[in-house]
Symmetry: C2
Subunit: 652 residues, 2 copies
Amino acid sequence: MTDASSLVERRRAASQRQFLDVATAEDALQRFWQAADPQPLGDESVSLDEALNRVLASDIQSPVDVPGFDRANVDGFAVRAQDTVGAREDAPVVLALTDDVLTPGVEPCSTVTAGFASVIATGGMVPRGADAVVLVEDTELVERDGRQRVQIGKPLPAGAFIAFAGTDVGRGETVLRAGQLLTSREIGVLAAIGLAEVPVFRRPHVAVISTGDELVQPGQPLAAGQVYDSNGSIVASALREIGCEPVRLGALPDEYEAQQKALRHALDCDAVILSGGTSKGAGDLSYDVVSTLSDPGVIVHGVAIKPGKPLCLAVTGSKPVVILPGFPTSAIFTFHQFVAPVLRAMAGMPVQTHERVVAELPMRLSSERGRTEFSMVSLMRTDDGFAAYPMGKSSGAVTAFSKADGFIRVDAQTELLPAGSKVEVQLLSRSLAPADLVTIGSHCVGLDYLLQQLQKEGLATKSMHVGSQGGLAAARRGECDIAGIHLMDPESGEYNTPYLEPGMRLLKGYRRMQGFVYRRGDARFTGIATPQQAVTAALGDADCVMVNRNAGSGTRVLIDELLHGAQPAGYAVQTKSHNAVATAVAQGRADWGIAIDTVARLYELEFIPLQEEHYDFVIPESRWELPVVQRFVALLQNPDVQSGLQALGFQR
Amino acid sequence: MTDASSLVERRRAASQRQFLDVATAEDALQRFWQAADPQPLGDESVSLDEALNRVLASDIQSPVDVPGFDRANVDGFAVRAQDTVGAREDAPVVLALTDDVLTPGVEPCSTVTAGFASVIATGGMVPRGADAVVLVEDTELVERDGRQRVQIGKPLPAGAFIAFAGTDVGRGETVLRAGQLLTSREIGVLAAIGLAEVPVFRRPHVAVISTGDELVQPGQPLAAGQVYDSNGSIVASALREIGCEPVRLGALPDEYEAQQKALRHALDCDAVILSGGTSKGAGDLSYDVVSTLSDPGVIVHGVAIKPGKPLCLAVTGSKPVVILPGFPTSAIFTFHQFVAPVLRAMAGMPVQTHERVVAELPMRLSSERGRTEFSMVSLMRTDDGFAAYPMGKSSGAVTAFSKADGFIRVDAQTELLPAGSKVEVQLLSRSLAPADLVTIGSHCVGLDYLLQQLQKEGLATKSMHVGSQGGLAAARRGECDIAGIHLMDPESGEYNTPYLEPGMRLLKGYRRMQGFVYRRGDARFTGIATPQQAVTAALGDADCVMVNRNAGSGTRVLIDELLHGAQPAGYAVQTKSHNAVATAVAQGRADWGIAIDTVARLYELEFIPLQEEHYDFVIPESRWELPVVQRFVALLQNPDVQSGLQALGFQR
């Protein structure tokens, strides 16, 4: 019991300490920046071939003129413009030729004097005396007095078809400035002025350490209660994206000595990023280790934001040391908001600007008073702008960050943003990825399969899973092209059609079988033939735990009908998907639930068929004629696609 | 002479051949795409650490649930929600503790039955029977009957602080689809589902060959008439940017056998990109080599576009073989427009979308009838949108592409876009690089130095050099923050002030010395003390060639005053910068010109002072109070900056 009470006491102490010290987001950013005072780490010279995506460390003055000489821009003859004055097709000027044949790379021997011309090719060096080039198409070669001459049928202005030396880049001109990120365009300029090597800022080496007893590296098997170390990979990749070099030091257990040793080693790098496991306890341990640093040591521990409250920001001897929260979305969000700006400055990268768009919230969003909340959203284009769908996943969800287009900020003072609010969305990427087809509604493995076929054709699709009712609402508001729904009208027993509203069309999808699922070998249900009998058996055993679905889902309607008002153990556990139901049963956290046969098979559960339901597609009239929607319609007619759906357990 | 006439005949033939076969831009794109029929080249497996910026080759279904178990989102106690019904602070519920202490990674031993609770930490596995977690802050540990118990002061809803298994990612769910470009966000998802390796498309290997007798590799010295091979570096970097692996095969002379041998070798790669030197002749030779290919061979030779007319697109055995035009802007423009889409498809990269903005042309733009012209533009923000400044450089200019924000397309039928036209600008990058300070006007090495100081402070600046008059016009239209001008009023002899208009302020800049420049040791001018005497000496020698400046420039006013109406040889060569004047004299293409002493020193020319002129800054009243403008004003007062300017030859 000592173990339990010490754990509890440590947690309580930690939570109280954090509450006392907690900083606002702005304050945390500013204090960390000031303590770190980030500067580029010095220069190194790299060859032009290695310079892509590096940052220039010095201003570059051109050592040469570009072009380096007056250059002919066409094939023809270098002439004195004044010699062509008055030339007409019917009264051409005839000029003698010098001995020069000025192909590129050839230095002229002769000056072009009055009455003379030199043959010149595109890129050739215009000889002294000449001030124009006449196009070969505008000339004839003629023989006169035993010598070849050129006949010119129209007058030329001085400077015609000549690029003068230094007009692109003048010698001594600053062509690029320190801090410039080098893309192919800048590399072209550096090559044109003849630089084979360029001075670039050294990339900061950043140690990446994950901590947590529960962490397992990708590729290894997971035991119960363990999780994959995703933060290590996310942080390492995100570091590369901002011009840093990650130095991965692996995942450490929650042991003080191990972490202290690793931190000492990590401080050979220019910065250190630790990320806790999912436990606040692990964060405390890392904090204990980091809090031994000085000069100046910990700057911020705890920020009044969600996600990301346990963030710890420290600096030692100008090296930033950071403990990111363990949950992936919190970790990556706080990395980008608080840590990346400092590391970018150390890498010499230009300050990142974030694009923003204004969008409308399709549903209300509640928030906790007293801390700034950042809510990941997915943007859907509407007829007059954007709708911002909150991802609605917890900070533990690694997919929240990966599927979001951006996030909105809800002030510490705001408790509720009503549906229809205009919000400002800060984009995660520099620009929006436009989707060819947007689906919003109930999630189904069958719809997944259909979208996959479209993706194979190169079409970009975007999905939000907000349940059948949410899909209908999105279709009404014009936020989606297609809403997947499976709603039974309790009066008529008819699926979907009764829910159609004016301006919507119904596209018949497929049927799928709902049923009672339980673990293989569970004697309570073995041999039972109908779901109703199975439920009766379940209700007869007080230890038998169910797993429920969320209110408003089509499946919940079925469950409530089966239970006739009973609320057995587990009724309150309202999961949001067929997969969640099947997992709970497969892992023994519950004993039964209602789910579709496709997932029952996936999780190797027993399945007693209950009701075949219709999963159909609601399409706003205004979208019906879109080529991508028609492509979707055609897909459902395709025999190969139909067999694909059938193989998954869906009947057309 | 045979040499001259054969060169001329070859050019003429080439130009006629191209004219007959020439394709429209759309036609060229479509024919090349159809012949190449680009497909990803197959898969390879890479470790997650190497997967950044690669393209996923297969759909990824999750092999696990994420979370893999019902996970506590806070530190506290796992309980049955129904046990907390009715709990109040003054009438708390007291529960016994099981033996479990569920830190992350620990598998529960006990089921939570009525009246019991298990200690659990954030990330811990919720035990069977429990359906809620109570926050440690909302509890007290109490001792009763010799056992530690937990006292809970408020009721909990079922599901409180639990992330149910599979709610982030369900087992079997498609988490990412083939064709997805992997950023740190996707890599996080792949790590979270435990993948250590991922299938990605193989990167196309693309051979890069430059051709041209005049080409010299960066880092080597240039002889007269030679140019640096910039296309090799630009194309190689641009290939990396679109997911290809460049295989650089160097620069080849204009020799048939050498090129044929190189092409044979290059066809080991998945595609070949040749780029001509600056000569059309070199392009013809490469064309002769490429035209020997079959299956099907050359698809397009010559496209009715500018820049880029000589583009050659071929395919052999499904491998694209391309000859880009030699001039850098033509090469990189045609690469992006015609070649990159095909190579991206081979790399499996998503189709690139191009952002567009509408802008106003501040000046008229003329275009050649009969071919589609693409004009590189620099965008300046105005009060009500954007102004698009045509870069006005030839296709030989490597800086045109590197400094442009985008380009506009002028149809083959359009000969002139008047000033004020609304044009659609296709951006070169996915988003606009905003500048903190925009300067438009006359170019000066001193202004360059001042902007450099601002850049050192992290401010982004953008400059367009359109002459003093152009700068004044830009200031009038609100397109710039600062216009650098040096215009003498011929009446009063006063600089700049007479040109001010209402709504503009003048910020005094510095003085610079204009003078007569000539090569060292030119006996015609040696010992002469005044520019007027030097000009008299020049006019007395018919072989003495001058170099002029463009009409409208401040320097041209000085020149015309000196010449008193005379127009000696070279008068028609109207260069656009001090640098161009100095280069012409230094290289012997001209014997004298008028330029500032800074460039005279740079090019080691003799200098006879003519006139001190005032280079000042015109600032629209509406911009005066901008912090960045005030920073610029302060810079000019800074003693260090003043000595810096002085060292360059500019007097405050």
